[in-house]
Symmetry: C2
């Protein structure tokens, strides 16, 4: 675990949050095999993931649940419980929590909704929960959430069946999400994109544990390299800035802030009871603390992906090499839109290329190798303009696969040249059935592939913006 | 064929362009079975599509090509040829064209590059081709292009093997594209999205036939309901406005204009020799002529899709119904960003809903049925707030499938209510392996599904913007 020196926040949180991610023993309150009840999905997910800890079902109506001995109440179980998962109706939760106090169970995930998001009565109930937790040193994730997933301890409290929502493989991205539906959506998209995940937390109404403390925790988590946050509101602005600023010296943080506009703010209040506050303040805080802001789910995943695979760019001079002129034009437009500098190829490079290539290739930036080009031509262009010459800071390569002379060999050619250059490279290609394989090959070599000019340029811009922020 | 009265442009074009789309007999100049030569892919594509016309290979080196009798030159073939496809090296094309004059072949697709896009020599060659074509009444599509595809006559000049690029099914979208690589990309994306295509033209350097004349042609094409245009530049501004204005009385036109920024304009010049001109002029022209502008490939396809499946909205009051609060918040934000009005539910509707639903459902707009909702709840909410009440002009419905009570039955519930309402509806859902089937079911009932809040809102905005334009 990375040693983090943060005098102000201390390091107690590490101990108290660790049981959420690596519990040795868990209780599931209201456990049942009934398929319509969400606990059955939680059990099945744990079984499927191969969770190795002790699972204690709690329910007065059953003797066994999924073959495990069931306790009538948590008070009847005598061994240690690291973490309790509560899914029962909200009005019964204060009583259940008092049993947890008695049993000295200090970590609780409350999945159930029916709190501040539903109006007056829920607000009162939520305040009561909050008070209980503060006064008795109980740590809570939730309510109104999916809870926790840790791919490194094969543990999750998620109730979405893995048959309906795919689970991403093990990797180095951790996600924090106020919204459960966004969390679900992200899981599936990460799976489809082949992006691996370390921790995943959906914390809903956030009566206790929120993004700032989770960022502190993940700062010390070796298996997390990028943190992605879906945010409706922030729990503690100063702590968030402090935590992010420290974290972003070691890792990358990407945030998707919703509730930016008035109607979104209202919807957020109805959704997780969040008071979103003025958006401008958030923007300033993100800038201050090394947090990259993105504006929709696709950008969010693309930013996380590019930061997992490539390093930030040292400047904004971008080289574009393509064999499809139309894509070159679109990338040029988009680069201008986002402030990337598509500087013309310097004379030295241009002369060399015109000696080595047919005259109908185009040696401006974008370098257009046309539909006649093959794998090797990409290698020559990259070597000349990017490896042997330090004029450009980063490159967007667009190897369209349909022309006859293009083969999958282009993956090795491009990724080797990229490595030699020591500079960031992203690949843009056509979204197609055929190119899926090429994409996977590129990404196995840590060259990120984006299926449209827009996405490739935005991803490159993430590397440039992150490069500007570096140093802490 | 729709009868179109356009005094200014006349209707001669219909006859002269029709041979590009419905040729009874074609010649392929430079025909060979050599896999590395693009003619072999053209042959294979025609065979695979089941083209029923006569195919005449032309090449002095072979007696047969793919089992078809090969002529040494086009002069040696005595029967009628409707259309000739030329793929040979650019410098030989003027000579070949003179043979076409002799044989009275008036329609030619020139696939070959090596013209204005490559610099001085190419510009001279292109001017020569243009002169030949004008003086001898030869109509040309190209050069430097993919040419034509007509799904209704099983004909195409495309040299991208259908094994590498998938071909969309038969449908009612026609595409015009200056760029070949964009055209290729679109084909595959349309296939993946399940959007059916009527005609598809990639016209490259456009020495003769361009978008204006093609719009005129498609205005009279019964199987075309939406026209999508990828544009670097326009051939004849006044003709374009006139043609689009007439066409958009009957059909929808969507345009993706690239070469908006200076670097893009330069790249477009290198690419197809296009002089893109000032972007503001284009914007004004689009507004004038009922053309919807979009800004990237994804928006382009989404706009075409939504216009194929739903009718324009009569106003901008949008109802949102969801069972995933986070998606509701994101949609709210995006609606504000794009100027859609997420008006609060009027008291009458709210009261009715609160009597019929649990109190933790949320009856603002977005109506949030929460993770507890099932298929029928969507039906009740839609009936009350959208079918029986005329307050809202259109609806974005977000049925997330993971919660246990949600089944595929929701497709029938939503599509029946949508039909009853007579107002446009789009569906937003999670991009996932599981929801793919749900999406296909919705779209088989003409309810378009978008895999992110952003895309759903933008698609809805297309219907609202198109609604403002209506009437000609």
């Amino acid at each position: 675990m990375l040693r983090v020196h943060d005098k102000e926040s201390g390091s107690v949180y590490k101990m108290s949050l660790d049981k959420f991610f690596n519990p040795q023993s868990i209780a599931i309150i209201g456990a049942t095999e009934n398929e319509l009840n969400i606990t059955s999905a939680i059990f099945n997910n744990l079984f499927e993931m191969g969770y190795k800890g002790t699972i204690v079902p709690v329910n007065p109506h059953y003797e066994k649940v999924f073959g495990l001995k069931c306790c009538p109440s948590i008070l009847d179980y005598e061994d240690n419980i690291d973490l309790s998962i509560i899914t029962i109706s909200s009005e019964h939760i204060p009583e259940i929590l008092s049993q947890h106090i008695e049993r000295k169970i200090n970590n609780v995930v409350i999945i159930s909704g029916g709190f501040a998001e539903t109006g007056k009565r829920g607000i009162v109930l939520e305040a009561e929960i909050k008070k209980i937790c503060r006064e008795n040193n109980i740590r809570i994730i939730g309510p109104n959430c999916l809870g926790v997933l840790n791919n490194y301890s094969n543990f999750s409290t998620f109730f979405l069946p893995w048959s309906k929502i795919k689970r991403p493989s093990r990797g180095h991205l951790s996600i924090l999400s106020q919204s459960g539906s966004y969390a679900a959506s992200m899981l599936d998209m990460l799976y489809l994109e082949g992006i691996g995940v370390s921790k995943f937390v959906s914390y809903g109404n956030r009566v206790d544990v929120g993004e700032s403390e989770l960022i502190e925790y993940l700062t010390g988590d070796d298996s997390t390299r990028v943190i992605g946050i879906y945010m409706e509101s922030v729990d503690d602005g100063r702590r968030f800035i402090r935590a992010s600023r420290l974290c972003s010296c070691y890792k990358h943080i990407v945030v998707l802030k919703v509730g930016r506009q008035e109607s979104g703010i209202n919807a957020a209040r109805s959704h997780t009871g969040a008071i979103a506050g003025r958006y401008e303040i958030y923007k300033a805080a993100f800038r201050k603390s090394g947090v990259l802001e993105v504006y929709n789910l696709e950008e969010f995943l693309d930013a996380c992906k590019v930061l997992l695979m490539q390093k930030p760019a040292r400047g904004n001079k971008i080289l574009v090499i393509t064999n499809g002129g139309g894509f070159g034009v679109a990338v040029s437009d988009m680069c201008s839109d986002t402030g990337l500098n598509l500087a013309q190829t310097p004379p030295g490079i241009r002369e060399y290329l015109s000696e080595h290539f047919p005259e109908f290739f185009i040696f401006n930036n974008p370098i257009d190798l046309t539909g006649s080009a093959g794998d090797k031509d990409f290698g020559i262009a990259l070597k000349t303009a990017f490896v042997d010459n330090d004029f450009y800071d980063a490159a967007i390569i667009i190897p369209l696969m349909p022309p006859p002379a293009m083969t999958e060999g282009v993956v090795d050619v491009i990724s080797e040249r990229a490595k030699e250059s020591g500079k960031p490279v992203v690949v843009c290609t056509i979204k197609s059935v055929y190119t899926k394989k090429t994409k996977e090959k590129f990404e196995s070599k840590n060259i990120p592939v984006f299926m449209s000019p827009e996405r490739a340029v935005k991803a490159m811009n993430v590397l440039v913006e992150r490069g500007k922020m570096d140093g802490c």
